[in-house]
């Protein structure tokens, strides 16, 4: 029983490791693509970050981001890449939940769901 358990734990570790690696890689590529587009379109303008003005809705809501990306804008594509990056550790928590269910470790399955809810409800 103990050996079986250990096997499942290391299995989960492997999946989590891969997930994190590919999540970071994917988001970096999307951010890079968005960055190149942004610099081609706006590279000659002046940066203005001295005063805080917040961001327009197309930098906050995924649907509006996607619509702006389809119009060929670079900044929302960067933002989309950042969302993929943020989704990576969240997906890791979701994976752990499935893993604990498979291990029949219900205490940790519940703890994981609570963490997931805390994150998602504040998004």
């Amino acid at each position: 029983m103990a050996i079986h358990k250990k096997f499942r734990d290391t299995d989960l570790e492997r999946v989590i490791g891969e997930l994190l690696r590919y999540g970071v890689l994917t988001s970096s590529l999307v951010v890079l693509a968005g960055g190149i587009t942004y610099l081609i379109r706006h590279g000659g303008q002046l940066p203005q970050y001295h005063e805080f003005r917040g961001e327009p809705d197309k930098m906050k809501k995924p649907i509006l981001m996607w619509q702006a990306v389809r119009r060929g804008e670079g900044r929302p594509l960067i933002q989309l890449g950042l969302l993929i990056l943020v989704a990576t550790p969240i997906a890791r928590v979701a994976f752990s939940f499935v893993g604990y269910l498979l291990e029949k470790d219900y205490l940790y399955a519940v703890l994981t769901v609570i963490v997931l809810l805390v994150i998602l409800l504040n998004f």
Partner: protein, 278 residues
């Protein structure tokens, strides 16, 4: 200075921060916020949002490697994430109401603390005796691979560690940093687990903790793509280079140098905060 030049300089700065952060184990986030606010005169709210993004990137990148080695205590990480995520959300709410000068001063204090703690000798881990009721119930006691085979350890003082993690999460949500130093105190000195396990487990938790407050930051407009793009790519590149060099470079003198840089930045942040120029 055009956006192209600005982005290029920012990228190089972030590359250096990521490289030094990974070589010294202090994390790149601690120098990013002073770099953005003091050197580039970026508003501190944008700086915090940008830093938080870079923290998630480096944490996930490094965790991918550590988790596979089997050093990370995933159960302990999951359990403590209850404390850090709740704290992070509280901290993110607070960030909107605290004046920027107070945030700057608080940031300076945390910087000094992180630099100082990086030289502290970790407490000896507990490997014998009574494993403790709570840590047994939560199945937190574990083992990790060493050159001499698997080594067992016990997790002590679960409640105290949980409470400290809550504070670490709050600081992370408020200042946009990983607050790895506070997490390591909670695990090394309070819960008494081996240093290698505490650093990797802390790193493992940082991404999730930051993800909890990022939603609030995004809605408030703290996360700007033009700033995040060069910083994220730079820090990731630097951290990657650092992990490649780590086995070949002597880090002791580098650590002292970086701690001095951090100390100077901390003083500058506190000074600007007191003068309300930030």
């Amino acid at each position: 200075m055009t956006i192209l030049v600005f982005s290029a300089i920012l990228f190089i700065g972030a590359l250096a921060a990521g490289l030094l952060g990974s070589l010294t184990g202090l994390g790149g986030g601690v120098v990013l916020i002073p770099l953005l606010t003091l050197v580039f005169k970026v508003d501190i709210h944008y700086a915090i949002g940008t830093s938080l993004i870079s923290v998630i990137a480096t944490s996930s990148g490094a965790a991918a490697a550590y988790v596979k080695e089997g050093i990370t205590n995933i159960r302990l990480g999951m359990f403590l994430e209850l404390a850090t995520t709740a704290g992070a959300i509280g901290g993110a709410f607070l960030a909107a109401y605290l004046p920027t000068s107070v945030i700057a001063i608080l940031f300076g204090i945390i910087l000094v603390l992180s630099a100082g703690l990086s030289f502290a000798r970790p407490a000896d881990p507990v490997t014998t005796g009574n494993p403790g009721v709570l840590s047994q119930k939560l199945r937190l006691n574990s083992s990790f691979p060493t050159p001499d085979g698997e080594k067992r350890y016990f997790v002590k003082n679960v409640v105290g560690g949980f409470f400290m993690m809550n504070i670490a999460g709050m600081i992370s949500g408020l200042l946009g940093i990983g607050s790895g130093a506070l997490k390591v105190i909670a695990m090394d000195n309070i819960m008494r687990i081996p240093f290698k396990v505490s650093t990797t487990t802390s790193n493992f938790m940082i991404g999730v903790t930051a993800a909890a407050s990022v939603g609030i930051y995004l809605h408030r407009g703290y996360i700007d793509p033009g700033l995040s793009m060069p910083v994220m790519l730079g820090v990731l590149g630097g951290a990657f280079l650092g992990s490649r060099m780590l086995t070949r470079t002597k880090t002791a003198s580098l650590k002292i140098l970086f701690a001095v840089v951090i100390l100077v930045l901390a003083m500058e942040m506190i000074y600007n905060g007191l003068n309300h120029t930030i």
